[in-house]
């Protein structure tokens, strides 16, 4: 039976970790993820978990310690945001290429500079090609549910890759929402324990992190790529099992009123809630509009997006990350690529929005739909790369 509670996103994630009871947490505080190790170290201090907490002196050391711990056969977790994730950069690749399924609670925040503590996705978007799985949450409930599923996906023998469980800084991390928790016994039965085939402390010695020569490096990268390919199936398998336990279903993407939509938005994270409100309002006014929310950005759900969007007339792809490619944000580029082979395919427009905590309202979303309608009417996107709600 579920337990009804009211929790912030950070507390929900910390509570999920407490229920899972991992072996090691190494973390360093950074706004807005600080509360996660803070709540968790209180659980440690109270003897409510078996986890050993490593109060490292930097995020670089946080991930380094998690790499050491996971390689030793422990289930290791960390939490960070923004510059903390940036400081981990080098080790993100090391963790993924060493096939260590570490779990990272990422509370998305703008990257410096200028320094800004509020939400956007520039931190985890920058890490999109580091080899980590990335799950994003719209609500506190999703942040909690994604955390409960994360380790099962990451540790699956066909995947063996680290996972970021992302939520929007302050918007969900600090806002309190009603939430339904799973009973701890059920969580532990579901999450199980990390039992790698080999580990530093296993019966046979193991060596991790070799110098890899050209004769082997590329094969190792190919194997790593296969883990990410396999992850799509595993995410769905774990979601089905999770749904049997909780009644809450998850996919790689979530669609809202897409069945006959002419105009649609594609976005990630908490803004989906705002966009859904705009969709409902416009539907009530007779507009054929819809929304696709991406839950798994890595692996990228290219086929699923193409199937969901190909019958639309015009689609706005919304990036909470500037990208600086001079050709739209990273999500835009990948959605374009996903739809390239589709026939028919919609007109695509890039919107950069919500940077550094810029508020996004239902009216903003309605404005985007209005512009899409105009694009559809004229048959071409005059300006394919737009910035939403920005002065000058």
């Amino acid at each position: 039976m579920g337990i009804r509670e009211r929790l912030s996103g950070n507390e929900a994630v910390a509570y999920a970790l407490k229920q899972i009871n991992p072996d090691v947490m190494g973390a360093f505080p950074i706004t807005p993820s600080t509360e996660i190790p803070q709540y968790f170290s209180q659980y440690v201090a109270n003897g409510e978990v078996d986890t050993a907490f490593i109060p490292v002196e930097s995020e670089h050391s946080a991930l380094s310690a998690c790499i050491g711990a996971e390689a030793a056969g422990a289930r290791a977790v960390t939490a960070t945001s923004s510059c903390g994730l940036a400081l981990m950069w080098e080790l993100l690749y090391v963790a993924a290429s060493s096939r260590l399924p570490i779990t990272l609670a990422c509370v998305n925040r703008a990257l410096s500079g200028p320094i800004n503590i509020n939400n956007d996705h520039s931190d985890s978007m920058g890490a999109r090609d580091s080899g980590w799985l990335q799950l994003y949450a719209e609500t506190n409930q999703e942040a909690y549910d994604n955390m409960l599923q994360a380790m099962r996906i990451a540790e699956h023998p066909d995947v063996q890759l680290p996972v970021m469980v992302c939520q929007d800084g302050f918007i969900t991390s600090h806002a309190i929402e009603n939430i339904e928790l799973v009973e701890t016994d059920a969580v532990r039965a579901f999450a199980g324990q990390y039992r790698p085939e080999h580990s530093l402390l296993g019966p046979e010695p193991m060596s991790v992190g070799p110098y890899d020569v050209p004769a082997y490096y590329m094969e190792h990268k190919r194997h790593q790529a296969q883990g990410m390919i396999n992850a799509k199936r595993v995410i769905l398998d774990v979601a089905r099992e999770f749904e049997r336990m909780t009644g809450r279903g998850y996919g790689l993407i979530e669609t809202c009123r897409m069945e006959d939509a002419e105009c649609a938005l594609v976005l990630i994270g908490s803004s989906a809630g705002t966009a859904k409100a705009a969709v409902e309002r416009l539907r009530a006014a007779g507009k054929r509009v819809g929304l696709v929310k991406i839950r798994a950005f890595r692996p990228f759900p290219a086929e699923e997006l193409a199937a969901a969007l190909q019958n639309c007339g015009a689609v706005a792809v919304m990036d909470k990350c500037a990208g600086f490619s001079a050709a739209g944000g990273p999500l835009f580029a990948e959605v374009c690529a996903a739809l390239y082979g589709a026939a028919p395919r919609p007109l695509l427009v890039s919107y950069t929005y919500g940077l550094g905590g810029r508020d996004v309202t239902v009216d903003s979303m309605e404005r985007v739909f209005g512009e899409l309608e105009e694009t559809l009417r004229t048959g071409a996107a005059a300006e394919p790369c737009r910035w939403l709600d920005v002065r000058g």
Binding site: G68, A72, A74, S98, L201, P205, V213, Y216
Partner: protein, 310 residues
């Protein structure tokens, strides 16, 4: 218990031969000696910072390490081994691991004095049960003899070259062993290869079997970077000790102990003149460099003797 080099060498090797380190390099000698101090019945997990040692001993699909081994990056050996050690503590407490295991990290001076210093300092402060061994060859040898904060004053390195107007490295060597001792960890020692290896062997054993963090700083010469004939390794380290350039000492629970006092402290030239990296110091007109060097060696030696009440 009496020390016998013969008995030491009869112990099984934990770093096998056939690796790709240069002849005359001090680093694998430091590793083999330290690992011989792990009791044969105990397991060890070894961690390496990126460097010559790592890239020359573990090239996929081969490894020279008989124990479990992890390398993750250049600047994080302290943090990485602290994660392994914490995992061990957690899994052991939960009954998931039974055996005794020791945790030993190796880093060169680049990975220890410089880029990995923060990670090391953090791990020492947190009190993990581990040994960090710096094999100090006084420059970034893996990338081609660039200066480090451990490179001695005036040494000719590829980013502190001796030129027409700049006389090699213009800064003094960082005193890392002292800095580590100021972390007030249970055991800190400075050592190198001398005579029958008693000094380094006993320090390694003490470091490994002292609960909590321990640190060994091992002078480990590099024939390529220091420019000496590889067969002279033991003579170089002997002269480093006899001139007091590299004194042997330990800090046991905060108590400073001088392990060796030369009967006749040799002038620093005796050490410098054997190495190509100091050659320019012997050119006419550069006598001041040797005088400056001697003065600093004397100052540090006196300070050490005072700390040790020697």
């Amino acid at each position: 218990m009496s020390y016998s080099l013969k008995e030491e060498l009869a112990k099984p090797e934990r770093l096998s031969g056939g690796h790709r380190m240069c002849a005359g390099c001090g680093s694998p000698i430091a590793v083999r000696t330290v690992l011989r101090a792990v009791k044969p019945e105990d397991r060890a997990v070894v961690c390496c910072a990126t460097g010559c040692l790592e890239v020359s001993t573990f090239l996929y699909p081969y490894t020279a390490w008989k124990d479990s081994f992890i390398h993750s990056a250049f600047e994080n050996a302290g943090a990485t081994i602290s994660g392994v050690e914490t995992a061990y503590a957690s899994l052991k407490k939960q009954g998931k691991v039974k055996e005794n295991c020791k945790f030993i990290a190796f880093g060169g001076d680049g990975g220890t004095y410089d880029i990995g210093f923060q990670s090391l300092s953090g791990a020492l402060e947190r009190g993990h049960d581990m040994v960090y061994v710096c094999y100090d060859n006084e420059a970034y040898m893996n990338t081609g003899i660039q200066r480090s904060s451990s490179t001695p004053h005036f040494a000719d390195a590829t980013t502190s070259p001796a030129g027409r107007v700049v006389p090699g490295k213009t800064q003094e060597k960082k005193d890392l062993t002292r800095i580590v001792a100021e972390h007030h960890i249970p055991y800190v020692a400075q050592t190198t290869f001398l005579g029958n290896f008693r000094d380094i062997s006993e320090k390694a054993e003490r470091a490994i079997y002292t609960p909590g963090p321990a640190f060994l700083n091992v002078m480990a010469p590099c024939p390529r970077g220091w420019r000496y004939p590889s067969e002279e390794l033991m003579e170089i380290t002997r002269l480093a000790v006899e001139t007091c350039v590299w004194p042997l000492f330990e800090v046991i629970e905060g108590r400073w102990v001088l392990n060796y006092q030369p009967k006749n402290k040799l002038p620093v030239e005796e050490y410098l003149k054997r190495q190509g990296r100091f050659k320019h110091m012997f050119a006419p007109g550069n006598e001041w460099m040797i005088e400056t060097c001697q003065k600093e060696v004397d100052r540090r030696w006196e300070r050490l003797c005072a700390a040790c009440n020697a």
